[in-house]
Amino acid sequence: MALLSVNDLSISFGGLKAVSDFNLKLQKNDLAGLIGPNGAGKTTVFNMLTGVYLPSAGDIQLDGKSLVGLKPYQINHRGVARTFQNIRLFSDLTVIDNLKIAYHSHAKYGLFGAICRLPGFYSGEKEMHEKSMELLKIFKLDHKYGELAKNLPYGEQRRLEIARAMATQPRLLLLDEPAAGMNPQETHELMGLIRWIREEFDLTILLIEHDMSLVMGVCENIFVLDYGQIIAVGTPDEIRNNRRVIEAYLGEEAS
């Protein structure tokens, strides 16, 4: 059974149909890309998948259970985590606090234990600290754990956002333009990192990206969106040679 299956998903804002009859299936451990020109509705799809927008029609199922109507935090508890196109870190907090906040739903002590400082509080905090440090190590941010998130360079902020999403221990990771603002070297490293976390955490990943080297380099399956509708689905090679895609999006550059 597919891990994520989206059926005929649509949403309108007033009279504008931003996304219509969007269909998508992701098997466990897939690494897929969602591309399309600006304004095609890619982020809108992400916002519906994560509960920010309520779709006007259609269904979203994760492991056979519908996500429609759930609040964003509930969808996160079901195992969906995301990053944002415009970075949304807790910028006045430290790097490690950003991760600890994401670990919150897995915290091992309650409100009473925290206020009374029961032994469980200290062991719970220690565990959260260690887990956060482990994750920071993977994302090569461990030496900056005490820095404020806003003081990190742009590429590191992007990495931190992915690390933070990973701290919620998701099954499905949605990355909204993870390489935006990165230089070619950083993008290359990011590709390796995305592949690596998928294997290491047995993760399913769907990513939006404008950087074609990244999309073509890591994605096994690509969905192309234009004017709110899927116009093509296929492997990078198929997409590269698809006439409709070239017309809609890639233009002469790819042909």
């Binding site: 935090y73 807790f90 404020l148 701290a167 919620t168």
Partner: protein
Amino acid sequence: MMSMFERKIKKQIGILLILAAFWGVIDFMIKGGIINPYYELNLILIGINIILAVSLNLINGFNGQFSIGHAGFMAVGAYGAAMITLKAHLPFAIALLFGALLAGICGILVGLPTLRLRGDYLAIATLGFGEIIRGLIVNIDYIGGAYGLSGIPKLANWTWIFWLTVLTVLVISNFVNSTHGRATISIRENEIAAEAMGINTTKYKVMAFTIGSLFAGLAGGLHAHYFYTIQPNTFNFLKSFDILVMVVLGGQGSITGSIIAAIALTILSASLQKLAALRLVIYALLLIVVMLFRPQGLMGTKEFSFSMFSKKSKDKEGKQHGTAIGQ
């Protein structure tokens, strides 16, 4: 793991001993007449103001929800507690607990609908709540109406107020320096991201608002049982603004900042009492100067701690939300 716990316990006992010594010395001086009633009154006011400022800081500073109805919750606590000792003749501790819980329940009732609002809208809604409470009290003759309640037994004293102030600071700082506190702070930082990272933002907003209201109610109960008499006008919006000023001046998101500001402003307004009309001018000027030169407040979001001086760069982790208080 256990040794860390034991070390923390030892540190806590140390802090407790220092606090007990401070309480004992002041208590001895009050009883021996070394501290005259005027200074005692100001010590009491400082304690009550610390409770009010720290609890409002949880809502405004840490959770980032701009509330200016804190005096309303204080009024609920004051009247609630006074009812228990005046009409039901129950012990003081029960009265304080009742007043605080009543204010906490009001916090939930007010918080649930209004915390959907943001920024200035929330401010207006909470301001409205404070005035509604005052209006209700004025119109209920059973609790004294516009004349207020008098003859409340003077049960609050230095001991009660000192230890309850300590308790307030301890509970709120323990809350803030935990995963629940981080969840609360994440809402201030970025609500959309917090929600996407699995934080039930409504729950934590209402929780912070409720805990804040609860302690405002506690302060109200102490106030009522120290000053014998309470009037609805004591808890008008100017009182809310007084508390807000302490929070903003001390730094929104700094518990020690609120404590310092509560102490400083209480002393300042007491010492300016003789100047009468000029008092408000000086008070306002001071605020303007602080806001011009330190818009983030005296402490910003940092906490004052003695380790700030000894190992400045070593302990980066506790930098943001210092672990100095009560741990």
